[in-house]
Each structure stands twice: as structure tokens, then as C-alpha cells.
């Protein structure tokens, strides 16, 4: 609701008219799955280091049509963050300034809904710059995979049920292959897999059992 109001407000207040396409709905069956790696977890003081976005069309994750960029952060990366994403100062020095990256990113995303895990954080990070660039925040509809998961698994749970929405827990529960984490592209790809699996479960009206030991995709472990 709040986003819809903001959206109306932004549509009126967009600074750069050439970005009006952001308000045009994208192709029907397409979304963009998004992940960023940042210097830390504080939206106010930390910066984006890498952005990865992959289009999903129907049941396909179009890894061949992806957006990947390394930004040169203003903020110093915290040692903690370096441990997480394993990009050192030296690795990002060759990166572009974020303001040079964003126009391409916005054109890649267009009006498509954005899918992510804890997507609010990624979008808040992006908005910090986008507002400065074009005067508005990202107007796109946001789809939170952990919410989809919560609905499939805990939607009918009695109060007091222990809830586990960790990224790894969702991957394991859905039986999805764990790629090397904390690489924006891999994280986005895994998030895309989660999204497709969860959307399919909902379509087929299959709930995720809370007792289940075996994963949904039960296959020969490779």
C-alpha cells in the first residue's frame, strides 16, 4: 500500500523524464531477480560493491541475459564485509562509479517486478543512489522469496511455531543445489531458483511439510 502511494507520488515527481519507462509494466511473464553485495549492512553509511540481476522469463532463468557490475564504493569496506563477500579493496578499485552503472541497470530492469531475498535491503541500498540520479526511488513491484516460502511452509502454522527463514534453510528445504554463496551472481541465481520452485509449489497448491526431512527436489545427490 505504502509503495503504491509512493509510486504515484514518484510518477509525478520523476526528475529525469527519460526514465518514465520504469513505470511501464514489463513483459507479462518476466521478473528480475536481484542481489547486491555491500560494504556493510548499514544503508546510511555503507556502499554497494557489486550488483547482479538476472531476468526470469516464464520458468527460465536467463543467465545468458544478465546484468553484472562492480562499483567503486565511497565508503571503506568493513573487515567483516570483506570476509563475507571476499572482494578486497583491490578488487573493486577497477570498478565503475555507481552513477555510471545505474542507468544501464535501470534500463535492464525496466518495469519488471524485482525478486530477491531480503529485497528491501537491496532496494534501499539502490534507492539511496537512484533518488540522487533521477529524483525518485525504484517504483517496481517487489517480490520477497522468504515471504513466498513463509506462506508455503508456515502459512497455516499454529502460533508459536518456530520459524526459520535463513537463506540456507530455504535452499535445503527446497532441495536446491548450493552454489558458492556471497557472490552476487550466484546468490541471485539461487534466489531465482527458489522463486521458480516456490511459485510452482503455489501453482500446484503443494505446501512444504514442516516435518519434512527429505527435500522437495529429491534426487540423486551429485
Amino acid at each position: 500500500m505504502w509503495r503504491a502511494v509512493k509510486r504515484l507520488f514518484h510518477q509525478a515527481s520523476i526528475g529525469d523524464q527519460s526514465y518514465r519507462f520504469l513505470f511501464k509494466p514489463g513483459p507479462d511473464d518476466e521478473v528480475v531477480v536481484l542481489d547486491t553485495e555491500t560494504t556493510g549492512l548499514d544503508v546510511k553509511t555503507d556502499d554497494i560493491i557489486t550488483i547482479a540481476a538476472i531476468k526470469i522469463r516464464g520458468d527460465r532463468i536467463l543467465t545468458s541475459e544478465r546484468f553484472e557490475a562492480v562499483a567503486r564504493p565511497d565508503a571503506r569496506m568493513s573487515a567483516e564485509a570483506i570476509k563475507v563477500h571476499r572482494l578486497r579493496h583491490a578488487d573493486v578499485e577497477g570498478g565503475e562509479l555507481i552513477f555510471r552503472i545505474l542507468p544501464d541497470f535501470l534500463r535492464f530492469v525496466g518495469g519488471r517486478p524485482l525478486v530477491g531475498y531480503y529485497i528491501d535491503f537491496d532496494v534501499a541500498m539502490l534507492d539511496k543512489y537512484i533518488v540522487q540520479l533521477i529524483g525518485i526511488e525504484l517504483p517496481n513491484r517487489l517480490i520477497e522469496v522468504s515471504a513466498l516460502y513463509h506462506e508455503r511452509k508456515y502459512g497455516d502454522a499454529p502460533p508459536g511455531t518456530q520459524i526459520d527463514l535463513r537463506f540456507a534453510a530455504i535452499m535445503d528445504d527446497l532441495g536446491l543445489p548450493r552454489l558458492e554463496e556471497h557472490d552476487a551472481f550466484n546468490d541471485a541465481l539461487m534466489t531465482g531458483m527458489m522463486y521458480l520452485a516456490l511459485r510452482d509449489l503455489k501453482r500446484r497448491n503443494v505446501r512444504i511439510s514442516r516435518q519434512r526431512q527429505a527435500p522437495v527436489i529429491d534426487a540423486l545427490g551429485a
Partner: protein, 600 residues
């Protein structure tokens, strides 16, 4: 780009680094819900699908042909020829990489090794694998250390000691070489040096060995590579290398042991069997057979060569044992035969005994009883398990006059039941090991004559190929119950249908060959089977037998080695396993049509 795409998996392992990078760039990932048709039968495909997670059924109409799992790719036919032979349907939620058709075709054009994977027919694929395995096995040999080889003891003698003392010492320690301590120097002296000194130079036995020893000793450390030992021996024309660990003398490496380590020493085992004086000698030799098989297999020996070797050794062993325990009253009136896999020459490790005795007429019952008891008793002590079905000399049903056998044949063929069919089957595979082979020849000729033209009987006989559930079904079971320790029965799934189908066809033709490969060869010559197909069946049979042997070696000592766990196979091997089963299935269908088994 999906860095996670595994390019170590065939056929992508044949690509150059930049080809892989370019390929990765073109990949998409697709998700399929359960029960979705990925490629319809006879349809073209715009992508090569490589499974990330999940299971896909390969179907021919209603029939399940194979189950594909992670890292498996499909379907090269739909991609290259524009028409898939089979349909591909997801069994469960499945994630796949999509490799665009254009990218694959481009690689096929530019990379011959990649292309060959796509065009290779099964038998050539099998050879490719065998080659890879060879390289691995040779590789492991190249990495072997001197300490892995059996060494002769490092026993010292003083330079002042006499030739006589040295000779006695050599006999005591069972070695043909001694180290000689001569002041600061260390030399070596061999039995050959001693003999030459005494016989050729007529030196007295009291001569000190110090002056006979060789002091240009070549040494290596225990953790040196075996191949350096080989090189040193060749370079210095030395038959022995002294192994030293720092100041300590560890042993003497003899060329004979080195060759035994590298090439196996089956002729030594054969020699021990031939020279055996007592049953204990034979038991010792029998114990060496398995070790030889293991060694040779590790060094890349082909399964058919191994089978030949083991059969040869086992038959020698039985022949020798027969010579030891056969009472004179029986000697010229009996023929010892081995049947079943022993007769076909397809046993690898010790299988159950399947032996019998054909007599040329009534013999002294006491002598016969003694033979029955002694022969099978000895085999059991040698570690050959008794036959659960009682097909052994010790059973009077399998040690009797030829005429009684002929009466049996008539009964087995007139009133066939499962046991009768099995008896005909194993007897048809029989070969003579000792005694008068003419007895077996006459028996077999009668058997073949009895079934000649008996279409209904032969069809009943062939029917056993349907005895076990389809192999592809087993494979299915295996994939779906992964992790529960379930494994695939190679014998029931593929080996048995092939060997029995071949046996039935050969029996109909009255061939006298006993080996499955030889029978297939004859079937191709007589145009019962197309030569290409006969070759593929032979390859599939050998591949399955090889896997079975590896499984047997892996669980050496355990009873059943027919099980293989696909999770432990490489994806290439799994691919081949599937193909081999597919061929077994095709072959079964041919046999079924040939004998019109659908009637039953």
C-alpha cells in the same frame, strides 16, 4: 555467468578453457515441475539439457527406458538430428542448464573430440572409457613406491665367511642374495655367483665370499618410485637393487619381484600349480589367484583377458587336484567337467563350484565314493564355495555313467521345469578339465541332437531371460532410493539376459563354443545377429562383466559382487551403464521375437 556449471563432466570435459567460458556465457537455467514433457518423442530440441538437480525419465511410448540424474545430459539426437528417439519427462521438480543448440553445433564443428562424443556409437564410447581407465591404472603404477613391492630380506654376511656358509644362509632365509660386509665396503653376492665360483672356477667351498662379491651396488630409498628402480635396473643391467633407508638396509629388490609387481606373475602361479606335490601346495597357489586378478585389473588388464587367465588357472588347479585324488580304478574311465560360468570361461573371482564327473560305465562304488568326498572337500578347503544347487562331483546326480546322463537329458527335455532348464543350460556350457574328453563330446552331441528343431522346447528354454525385472527398472529403483544403500544387480539386470539369450540361440544352432563372446561371434557369422549388433552386445557384456569384477574386488571376500552402486561411478560410467543396459534390453527383445516368446 553460471560459474557453477560443471565442465568436468563429459562431454564438456573435452572443451578448451575459452570454449568453456564462451559456452557458460550462453547458458540459461530452466525449472520444470514434475510430469512436464521436456522433449516430446520424435520432437526436435532447441537446447541440450544438462540436469542440475532432479530426475528425468527417458521414455519410449509407455515404457521407461532410463532415468537421468544430475550431470546427465540429453538429448543429442533431438539436437543434432532434429528428432528425439525417446520422450523426456520430468519425474520430479527438476532444474536444468539449457545449452543452446547453436552453441553445441558450433562446438561439434570446431572441436572433434567434443563432436565424437555426440556421434560415437556405444562400443566406441566403451573403448574410450577403457582407455581412460588404462591411463589411470598406469598412472597409479607410476606413482607406486619401492616399499610397495615385495623385497628380499637384507641379510648380512661377513667377507671372511665361506662360500659354504653363504649357501646355507641363502637357503635358511629363502633368498638368493646376501649383503657382504667387507670393512667399509658393502657388496652383494648371489646364488649364481656362488655356483659359478664353485662349478666354473672350481674354487674350494672354503673360499671367503669377500672376493666374489660385487661392490658396485645400486641403491634406492623405500619411498623412491618403482619406475626409478626399473630405470636403474635397465641402465646398469642390474638384477637387484639394494634398498636403504638412511644407514639402515631395508631389503633387496629383485627384478623378478618388480616384474611380478608390474606385470603380474601368473606364470609363477601356473608353475606352482603344475609343480604342486601336495594339496597344501595347491591351496597356496589357489590363494594367489585372486591377488593376481586384483593386480592385473589395477594395471588395466582387459576383462576378457582376465577371465581367460582365471579360467586357465582354475582348470589347471582342478586338473592337478583330480590327478592327486582320483583312484586308479577311475582314472581311465572318467571325465571331469566344469559347467556354467567355469565352462564358459567367464568366472573372475572364485565362484561356486559347478563340476561333475562323467563315467564310461559302472565303476567300483568305493573308489567313486572316495573320489566324491576327497575332490569337493579339497576344493572347499581351497576356498571354492560349494554349489548351493548341489552341482558338484560329490552329488551322485553329477557323477555317474554317460548313459545315465543321456537318460537325464531326455527327461529334462521332455518334462522341462526350472531345474531341468538350468541343468541343460549349465551342461551345454561344460568343458572337460581332466580325464577322457571324448565322454563329454558324446554327451554334448546327444544333448544338441535332442533339442535340434524342438522349437517349443527352445522357446521354453529361452524364456528364462525374462526371469528378472527389467534392468532399467532396477536402475530406476536405484536412483530413487539413493542413499538407502540400494544398489544395482548387474548380473540379473544385464549379464544374465545376455549370456542366457546367447546360450539359447547357440544351442538352437548346435554350436560347440562355450564362451559368450565366441558364441556371439558365431551368431554373427551365421547371420543370426547383425555383426554390428553382435559386437555391441559383446562390448556391453564385457563392460558389465568388468564393472562386476570391480565390484567383486571392492568387496573382496564378500559373497555377492554383482551389485554396483551408481553413486560411486563416474557420470561417464553411469552413461555407459545405461547404454549397456539398453543394449541388453534390445537384445532381449530380439531373442524374445526370435523364439516368439510373446506367445507364452
Amino acid at each position: 555467468m553460471p560459474k557453477s556449471f560443471d565442465a568436468t563432466n563429459p562431454p564438456f570435459d573435452r572443451l578448451e578453457t575459452q570454449e568453456i567460458e564462451a559456452l557458460r556465457d550462453t547458458l540459461d537455467v530452466a525449472y520444470f515441475p514434475p510430469g512436464e514433457v521436456v522433449i516430446a518423442q520424435e520432437a526436435a530440441a532447441e537446447h541440450l539439457f544438462v540436469i542440475i538437480k532432479g530426475t528425468v525419465e527417458e521414455r519410449d511410448g509407455d515404457e521407461l527406458v532410463a532415468l537421468l540424474g544430475p550431470k546427465d545430459s540429453f538429448d543429442s539426437r533431438a539436437l543434432v538430428h532434429g528428432r528425439s528417439g525417446h520422450a523426456f519427462v520430468t519425474r520430479e521438480e527438476t532444474l536444468v542448464y539449457l545449452v543452446p543448440r547453436d552453441a553445441v553445433l558450433r562446438l561439434i564443428q570446431t572441436n572433434p573430440r567434443f563432436a565424437s562424443f555426440f556421434y560415437l556409437e556405444i562400443s566406441r564410447k566403451l573403448d574410450a572409457l577403457a582407455h581412460d581407465e588404462d591411463e589411470q591404472r598406469v598412472g597409479s603404477l607410476m606413482r607406486a613406491r619401492v616399499s610397495d613391492v615385495r623385497l628380499q630380506p637384507a641379510s648380512f654376511i661377513d667377507a671372511a665367511d665361506t662360500i659354504e656358509t653363504a649357501g646355507h644362509r641363502m637357503r635358511e632365509i629363502g633368498s638368493n642374495a646376501l649383503l657382504v660386509r667387507n670393512g667399509e665396503r658393502t657388496g652383494i653376492i648371489t646364488g649364481m655367483n656362488l655356483s659359478k665360483a664353485v662349478v666354473l672356477r672350481r674354487l674350494p667351498l672354503e673360499t671367503p665370499v669377500g672376493e666374489l662379491a660385487h661392490y658396485d651396488v645400486v641403491t634406492l630409498a623405500p619411498d623412491d618410485f618403482v619406475f626409478s628402480a626399473l630405470l636403474l635396473m635397465t641402465r646398469h643391467s642390474k638384477r637387484r637393487i639394494v634398498v636403504r633407508d638412511g644407514d639402515a638396509y631395508v631389503g633387496i629388490l629383485e627384478d623378478i619381484d618388480l616384474l611380478g609387481f608390474i606385470g603380474g606373475s601368473t606364470q609363477l602361479v601356473a608353475g606352482r600349480i603344475d609343480r604342486a606335490q601336495t594339496q597344501q601346495d595347491l591351496a597356496d597357489a589357489a590363494g594367489d589367484i585372486e591377488g593376481q586378478v586384483r593386480l592385473l585389473r589395477r594395471q588395466g588388464a582387459k576383462i576378457e583377458a582376465l577371465c581367460e587367465l582365471v579360467s586357465d588357472l582354475n582348470r589347471r588347479l582342478l586338473e592337478r587336484l583330480h590327478g592327486m585324488v582320483c583312484p586308479p580304478a577311475l582314472r581311465d574311465h572318467a571325465c571331469l567337467i566344469v559347467m556354467g560360468s567355469e565352462g564358459r570361461g567367464e568366472q573372475t573371482l572364485r565362484t561356486d563350484q559347478d563340476n561333475g564327473l562323467i563315467l564310461d560305465g559302472p565303476v567300483d562304488p568305493t573308489a567313486l565314493d572316495a573320489y566324491r568326498r576327497d575332490f569337493n572337500g579339497a576344493l572347499e578347503r581351497f576356498g571354492f564355495p560349494p554349489c548351493p544347487g548341489g552341482v558338484m562331483v560329490s552329488n551322485p546326480l553329477w557323477s555317474k555313467p554317460l548313459d545315465d546322463y543321456l537318460a537325464d537329458f531326455r527327461r529334462w527335455i521332455a518334462l522341462p521345469d526350472e531345474t531341468a532348464h538350468m541343468n541343460v543350460a549349465i551342461f551345454y556350457d561344460a568343458v572337460a578339465v581332466a580325464g577322457d574328453p571324448a565322454l563329454l563330446e558324446r554327451a554334448k552331441a546327444s544333448l544338441i541332437e535332442l533339442v535340434r528343431g524342438e522349437r517349443a522346447y527352445l522357446a521354453h528354454f529361452a524364456k528364462a531371460i525374462d526371469a528378472f525385472a527389467p534392468p532399467i527398472g532396477l536402475f530406476n529403483n536405484l536412483i530413487t532410493s539413493e542413499g538407502k544403500g540400494d544398489a544395482l544387480d548387474l548380473k540379473k539386470g544385464g549379464i544374465f539376459p545376455i549370456l542366457h539369450g546367447v546360450r539359447a540361440l547357440a544351442l538352437e544352432k548346435g554350436f560347440l563354443e562355450t564362451g559368450t563372446a565366441e558364441r556371439l561371434q558365431r551368431l554373427a557369422e551365421e547371420r543370426v545377429l547383425k555383426p554390428d549388433f553382435a559386437r555391441e552386445v559383446t562390448q556391453a557384456f564385457r563392460f558389465l562383466s568388468g564393472l562386476r569384477l570391480d565390484a567383486q574386488l571392492a568387496e573382496s571376500g564378500g559373497r555377492s559382487g554383482s551389485l554396483v552402486r551408481p553413486a560411486t561411478l563416474s557420470s561417464m560410467e553411469r552413461d555407459l551403464l545405461r547404454d549397456a543396459f539398453l543394449i541388453a534390453k534390445q537384445f532381449r527383445d530380439i531373442v524374445r521375437r526370435h523364439f516368439n516368446l510373446a506367445m507364452f
